[in-house]
């Protein structure tokens, strides 16, 4: 399955000139011997893999966090992280997938189950006894920063409830909220809707499901393929109709754009139409700004806000548009992190055997935040799991840049994470 093909991943191993730049920048192999590094596990080991061998030649590839720093620094264009993801899928296919990984891969299902009784679910998940059991029975690290279900209802419920108050306009934009916004952080979606409407766009939220990334990173390719196909069925038409599809979760948008088509070898016209229609929300706002259409009626925000562009965001290869747009906000000081990765890498840092690796990887980022001084009260980062990890590692609250932007428009309270009365959305 998917081990070799002429589509870009397989043959990209031919690009490797063994120069070791990737290994020098890999945040995981920098802190542990358990992962032999991207060159070793990627293009090097790939030459020794085929399906149906007497034994799995290397299990260590499972310690790749999939952060894609290797892809970013590789001077010759080897798709190292994707080679590793496929190797993991091959192992999963031959050896089976542990229950824990199946569960972590089903972020959406977990979200949906919990959101019916969020307080109970939060208690159930977050009390010491169940975390202890989750660690012992399933291998989910006790200390890992698992999310809390929204006690305020899901984003979907809010969006439906407030339909009458929503802006209806000729210009429309499609919003892909992702599972975290849906069940854990509906306020991110509210901020996004507020920002988009403030700029005169009507927001469409079509039926959608999990992007499939958690499954891809846990080697469940077949299941991920079904998820992606459903999203394609639901949104390809909108993409074809010229509606931009924006997302606030950097890893979801990356999956829709590239990871799912590439890893799963899905290249139908519909898949490609969706791929080409998806934007990270700031990537799209930057386009708007370049066309002179972004409203810049910002209120000053007098804040020192250390910003970390997550590895999954950098993997879009569009630069750091959130940073560029936030830089327009008066008085906002944004020290930029050059840390390679926060360490959580999706579901990686949740796993008992990888929790400490994740924290060691994140230390570079935590240290950067600490070095910014005591007057720092909050950080910013685009990806949900990274924010949770950042909060876990620094004890400071962390915000999505869209929250910051909504606040700058006067539509959102950064402290309470609620829309203000000025927004026409309550």
């Amino acid at each position: 399955m998917h081990t070799t093909s002429w589509h870009s991943v397989g043959p990209s191993l031919d690009e490797c000139i063994k120069c070791n730049i990737c290994t020098s920048y890999c945040p995981v192999s920098a802190v542990t011997d358990l992962f032999p590094g991207p060159k070793y596990s990627g293009p090097q080991a790939q030459r020794f893999r085929e399906s149906g061998q007497p034994d799995t030649p290397d299990q260590a590839v499972d310690y790749c966090s999939g952060c894609r720093v290797c892809n970013e620094v590789c001077p010759t264009g080897v798709k190292i992280a994707e080679l590793n993801a496929r190797a993991r899928a091959q192992i999963a296919k031959e050896k089976g997938i542990p229950l824990r990984n199946r569960l972590l891969g089903r972020n959406e299902l977990m979200g949906r189950i919990g959101h019916y009784a969020p307080r109970l679910a939060n208690f159930g998940l977050h009390n010491a006894v169940s975390r202890f059991l989750a660690e012992k029975v399933m291998g989910i690290a006790r200390q890992a920063p698992l999310p809390y279900w929204s006690t305020d209802g899901s984003f979907g419920a809010w969006f439906k409830r407030t339909q009458k108050e929503r802006l209806h306009a000729r210009q429309k934009v499609v919003y892909f909220h992702g599972c975290a916004t849906m069940y854990y952080e509906p306020f991110i979606g509210k901020a996004a809707v507020a920002v988009l409407e403030h700029n005169g766009y009507e927001v469409i939220v079509p039926p959608q499901n999990c992007c499939g990334l958690p499954m891809l990173s846990n080697g469940e390719f077949a299941a991920a393929e079904g998820y992606h196909q459903r999203n394609v069925n639901s949104m390809a038409g909108l993409a074809r109709g010229g509606y931009p599809i924006v997302g606030t979760s950097t890893s979801c948008t990356l999956t829709l754009k590239e990871e799912a088509p590439e890893l799963l070898d899905m290249h139908s016209p519909d898949v490609t139409a969706l791929k080409m229609g998806v934007w990270d929300i700031f990537e799209w706002l930057r386009e708007l700004h370049e066309e002179g259409k972004l409203r810049t009626d910002f209120r000053p925000i007098n804040l020192k806000l250390p910003y970390h562009a997550p590895c999954q965001y950098r993997a879009h290869r569009v630069g750091k548009p959130a940073l560029e747009i936030m830089a327009l906000i008066p008085e906002l000081e944004i020290p930029e992190s050059h840390a390679r990765c926060c360490g959580i890498a999706g579901t990686y840092g949740y796993k008992t055997e990888k929790y400490q690796i994740g924290m060691d990887v994140g230390e570079e980022l935590f240290q950067f935040v600490r070095e910014q001084g005591d007057d720092v009260t909050m950080t910013a980062c685009d990806s949900e799991t990274c924010r949770w990890q950042l909060e876990h590692g620094t004890d400071l609250p962390s915000r999505h840049p869209i929250e910051v932007l909504a606040a700058a428009y006067g539509l959102y309270d950064l402290e309470t994470r609620e829309l203000t009365s000025q927004s026409n959305s309550m």
Binding site: T4, S5, W6, P11, L13, D14, E15, C16, I17, K18, C19, D33, P36, K39, Y40, P43, Q44, A45, Q46, R47, F48, R49, E50, S51, Q53, P54, D55, T56, P57, D58, Q59, A60, T76
Partner: protein, 586 residues
């Protein structure tokens, strides 16, 4: 001048020669084998690595097919660890018309080559890169083989049975008694290529197993024989694009096979008559032809990275034959020079193919027995060589062993997963004159970077070994004892990281004389020679990085030197760069 007495002297350290030494030693003969370079330096080490099922010969040469399938089964037992059970497919591409597929099926049935037609869909599931436009697919028990390891293992088995294997010993003349009519070869004059010492080896029977070079030996006693050197050019792709041997289902021709062997896929071969088996050029049209033909089996293959090209010479014997070399017989030729030319004490074995080397050896020793008298029966068909108990080779075994034993930090050749201890032990267990010898032992420098990183490292390691051996090198006495100890050397495990967790305690032998700067230059040049024919695109970029390492970083072209040469320096310097003058034959 040294003198050695033996019963049988074998000339040539390829598959056939070592096979003969093994067979004869097992039958109870005293045997010495001389090879002018390293084992497998000639044709054996330069073939595509196919373990024939016989399928390629069922129509054209049924007797060869019968021999192949028989030996295929035998070698899977005797040399298990040298063979990968890849299986093979014969595919009918849109260009292969006519009734050949039906003849093929019929031929398989008649020769006993197992053949199973499978659906195109099943073939594509197994090999996703295969041309989807193929119309029929037949499955046969082809395999791939490591001819370096197999020859080392055979030589090891021969040593254990008492044979003496002398590499870097070149025959400079034959020892002859009698005159016209009752001429008898009684041994050979041999030159130790490293020390320059001359040795006379006296033997009751001299067996000439020098393949394409056979005429040079017989010429020493005035016997002209016609061995056609048929040059076969092969290209190795940077990774295995297929995991099954893929053959075109048609009459054997140029570029009609892809063999997955170790980490690469080899497209083979051309077939060109050449005058000189020694200095082979690889012409641009040959490389182009391999890629063009490869495209018909695996569309897109010419865009993939080619890591190396090389050529070997098939020894094709046919009396008074002057036609195309591919049409010359692949059957082997066993020449009894007493009956044929009135020169006693000399047998020549040539022709054939790697898959049938054991059978050739058996028949040769049978002939020698006619003159020397019966001892014990041939036992090579049922005796496993050392290392065979490891079971069949599988692609991931090194990766697996490296991980299990936590050896990632010990890797010297990172492309082919060679550890420091593997190199040290190879140097101690097999005579080492150049790094190319180590390459054949452990696959040093055979991956994508073609020695870019590991040449320097291996030189550093060998130099350290040599320094340790200085003053503590083995005495003459110890060397003699060493010959007996040879039998216990675990040469057969050279390629296994797990079997080389600790360095051998025996002192380094020949390394005391190694000159690091010469080792470095020789190996860089040896690698260069094999990449220039395919140097473009990504491999050219790789080579430029290798240049950066050896020019800017090492300043290797300005290392102190005294003009010293190894026995192979000139061989490596032969100009193999692409040459525009030669056109493809019409």
């Amino acid at each position: 001048m040294k003198r050695i007495n033996t019963e049988i002297l074998v000339i040539g350290g390829g598959a056939t020669g070592t096979g003969i030494a093994w067979d004869a030693a097992l039958r109870g003969f005293a045997v010495a084998l001389v090879e002018r370079r390293d084992l497998t330096h000639g044709t054996t080490g330069r073939y595509h690595g196919l373990l024939h099922s016989g399928g390629r010969y069922v129509v054209k040469d049924p007797q060869s097919a019968v021999e192949c399938i028989q030996e295929n089964r035998t070698l899977r037992h005797t040399h298990a660890h040298c063979i990968e059970e890849t299986g093979g497919l014969f595919v009918v591409t849109p260009e292969d018309e006519g009734d050949f597929p039906d003849l093929f099926v019929q031929g398989c049935a008649e020769t006993g080559v197992p053949c199973n037609e499978i659906s195109v869909a099943a073939a594509l599931r197994r090999e996703p890169l295969l041309n989807p436009r193929i119309s029929r697919v037949f499955e046969v028990p082809d395999g791939s083989a490591d001819s370096f390891l197999a020859t080392h293992a055979t030589a090891q088995a021969a040593r254990q049975a008492g044979a003496r294997i002398l590499t870097y010993h070149a025959v400079t003349g034959l020892l002859v008694t009698g005159g016209d009519g009752d001429k008898r070869v009684v041994g050979a004059r041999v030159m130790d290529a490293v020390s320059g010492e001359e040795i006379h080896i006296h033997a009751a029977m001299v067996i000439n197993a020098t393949g394409a070079w056979a005429g040079r030996i017989t010429g020493m006693v005035g016997i002209p024989i016609s061995v056609i050197p048929g040059k076969g050019t092969m290209v190795a792709m940077n990774h295995r694009l297929v995991n099954t041997v893929i053959n075109r289902c048609k009459m054997p021709a140029d570029g009609d096979i892809i063999v997955p062997v170790h980490t690469v896929a080899v497209i083979g071969t051309t077939d060109e008559r050449v005058a000189d088996p020694e200095n082979l050029r690889i012409e641009p049209w040959e490389v182009q032809l391999m890629l063009d033909e490869g495209e018909k089996l695996v569309p897109g293959i010419s865009r993939a990275r080619v890591v190396r090209a090389w050529a070997g010479v098939r020894p094709l014997y046919q009396e008074d034959y002057t036609g195309d070399s591919r049409d010359a017989t692949r059957k082997f030729a066993l020449l009894d020079h007493q009956r044929g030319h009135g020169v006693a004490g000399l047998i020549t074995i040539t022709g054939g193919k790697w898959t049938t080397f054991r059978l050739m050896a058996e028949k040769t020793v049978d002939l020698a027995v006619d003159y020397l008298g019966e001892r014990q029966p041939c036992r090579t068909a049922s005796t496993q060589v050392p290392g065979a108990e490891q079971g069949h080779y599988w692609l991931g075994h090194r990766l697996h062993e490296i991980e299990e034993e936590h050896l990632q930090g010990e890797l010297i050749c990172e492309c082919e997963l060679v550890t420091r201890t593997m190199i040290e032990n190879a140097a101690k267990r097999n005579p080492t004159v150049t790094l190319d010898d180590i390459r054949r032992d452990v696959r040093l420098g055979m991956g994508p970077c073609q020695g870019g990183f590991c040449t320097y490292r291996a030189v550093g390691i060998l130099h350290e070994l040599a320094r340790q051996a200085e003053g503590a090198g083995p005495t003459e006495e110890e060397t003699k004892e060493g010959t007996e100890r040879d039998a216990a050397w675990e040469v057969a495990y050279l390629q296994s990281p797990r079997h080389n967790l600790s360095a051998d305690e025996r002192p380094a032998r020949d390394e005391a004389g190694l000159q690091p700067n010469l080792l470095l230059r020789d190996f860089l040049q040896e690698r260069w020679k094999g990449v220039t024919p395919i140097l473009w695109g990504r491999q050219l970029k790789q080579e430029r990085l290798d240049e950066l390492i050896y020019l800017n970083l090492m300043n290797a072209d300005h290392l102190p030197q005294t003009g010293e040469k190894s026995p192979l320096t000139d061989f490596y310097l032969y100009d193999a760069t692409p040459n525009e003058q030669t056109e493809a034959p019409a």
